[in-house]
Symmetry: none
Subunit: 211 residues, 4 copies
């Protein structure tokens, strides 16, 4: 394996980071095409045009490669979504931005998202327990969504009738469902679908004036 660098120095050289990204990209390609179960190191290496040992050199093992793939994409998604949500004011607009930017990211990175989904659902640690697909995992992910919903209710923008956590889960489900379709259907119209989803949750969160 790659020897640990001396302490104090920068952890990884530029060229090494590039290799890691290249390998992860190849893994994404293979997984999104052939599925997690067929994504052997040999195949990933072949796709990247490198020797199998290179992967072992840059990653501690297959698990680390897969873990890094997931983490990298989570970060990318966060970097895409956060500013878009943060740049608007008002819970309703933020919710709209959240849904829209999520779906936009998925549409723009469908292969990556496909691979991510596959890894998240299949990767397990040595004990056989899922590494990512856990109750804790979801809790972390929906935090910003719950915040928006709670703030919207507090501000009187949203009806107080729904449970923010349950609603956040439903919104996540709609987004994840859209991701699945974007993956499975080559000419899936994400823009139209985004409009549908936004309207859906606009209706369900709307404060009814008087009934």
């Amino acid at each position: 394996m790659r020897p640990e660098n001396s302490p104090g120095g920068q952890r990884r050289s530029f060229i090494e980071e590039a290799r890691r990204r290249q390998i992860i990209a190849a893994a994404v390609e293979v997984i999104s095409e052939a599925g997690y179960g067929s994504a052997s190191l040999a195949r990933i290496a072949q796709h990247a045009g490198i020797s199998k040992g290179v992967i072992s050199y840059h990653f501690a093992g297959k698990d680390e490669l897969m873990t890094q793939l997931v983490i990298q994409l989570y970060i990318s998604a966060g970097e895409y979504i956060a500013p878009r949500v943060g740049s608007v004011r008002g819970a309703r607009k933020q919710l709209h931005a959240y849904i829209d930017s999520n779906l936009g990211f998925i549409a723009a990175n469908t292969k990556y998202v496909a691979a991510l989904t596959d890894v998240v659902l299949n990767l397990r640690d040595a004990d056989g327990r899922p590494r990512f697909a856990s109750a804790d995992g979801e809790r972390d992910i929906i935090v910003p969504l719950v915040d928006i919903l709670t703030a919207g209710q507090a501000a009187g923008e949203f009806t107080p009738e729904f449970d923010p956590v349950a609603m956040a889960k439903s919104i996540r489900d709609a987004i994840d469902g859209a991701a699945g379709r974007a993956i499975r259907e080559p000419d899936f119209d994400m823009v139209a679908y985004s409009a549908h989803v936004c309207r859906l949750f606009e209706v369900t969160t709307r404060k009814v004036e008087r009934e």
Copy 2:
């Protein structure tokens, strides 16, 4: 392999069907516990308390076992849900029955659903294409839902403002999402969640009296 039965004769003996169900049940157990990737025939056989060769004898191969697992569960789900939806009148009540019976089935057969999900997402044919997780697959599944929604709109029970297909997909997403949570969270409260989902889609499909 099992010899083909004589033409015209009954397809499978009772005892053979029992064996097949036993093997499928063992497969469900193993997959839901250890994941699709770790569900080897050896492990399934061990779990069923039989020899590995028995599986090969009763199924053409691992793929057929997995395929039968999926089909059997689809049938079971249909047998559970269909009468519950068919026994009520009115689109709104049917939609409610659809959601409720789906979630009820999931809650009562969580392990089976977990295994099914795992297989559907991972099983691929020789070409590497997903056998179940395809656009066609979803289309078939949401047919009854689309029918309910379309009928409801035609009857004036639902607002005409939504696209029945898109709405059906969203309802499926909510159900699938609930399934995921039932699988991941040991003490997931499906009854409460069902109420939340029902209300959600009641609101979004409701005909607004006058605005």
Copy 3:
């Protein structure tokens, strides 16, 4: 791996035991010729004229194969030596029989002893600690020797001047040294050497009449 047999039945079939012995014999051959470090499963399988997977089928892993090799030879040695020591009376004669039968066994099974030595010195468990080459291991081995020496001192056959444990170790060293030579030197004369060793320890254990 070989499935665990049903409880109550005999643990291993005759044919399986034969295979295991065959594989162990092949391992002995390879190790004694090429050394422990070169004794890969592939090479052992090739030497046995079987497929690589057969070894994995009959043994839980390489470690178990090596462990069984050691155990089997320890048992064989015990079965050879014990009756020869037990059939004579008197500590002096027993000591002579012990040395002579040990060296006789080594001469008659040089290859096996060579392999055994190699495995004992090299095999380690997952933590990196030697599995056989430990202080405890030697203690167990020299027990019968210590017993003979102690009994001989008690009976007045041996001089009380030596420490039985230390002397037992020295005798073991002489035997182990002879084993090494039998392994390394193709035409090593074990009979002559045995006479030398017997005389050596006869002198050192002899009770001096009067000084």
Copy 4:
């Protein structure tokens, strides 16, 4: 690889020798702790705090490193033992000095001796033949011992009844056995053991006055 020095010039610079000794020391450490089979160049380099390539630069390959390790230790042992044996007069005293200094060296350099033993027993050349553990190897080692014994017999200090070569081998066995125990048993009392061994061979070599 390191360029060959110009003919006539000094063979190796001081700094280079230091590097070689450092690498050998690291190899000793790793081998004595983890065993020959686990002593990869990567591990040795890591232990030495250097890059893997450095080893390749200073040694032609792993074999040369191991060979040098053995040779260096043989020399060290010789430098320790020879003057101690040479400084006394009389075969009996020399024999005593030989045994004592051997065991003393082992006690003072247990790790080194452990590594040496491991390498000697495992290192083989390309043909698969042991590089050090051969009949020739032993013959060279016991030469000084045979000389002492022969001289002692000629001078009438030792009884003429034993074969000097056979007795030398037995003495070597006792020393090697002590080394094994020093390696395996953390709190092995070498001083006591040395006394035991010295007395043992004093008795067996002693000239009986009259019988």
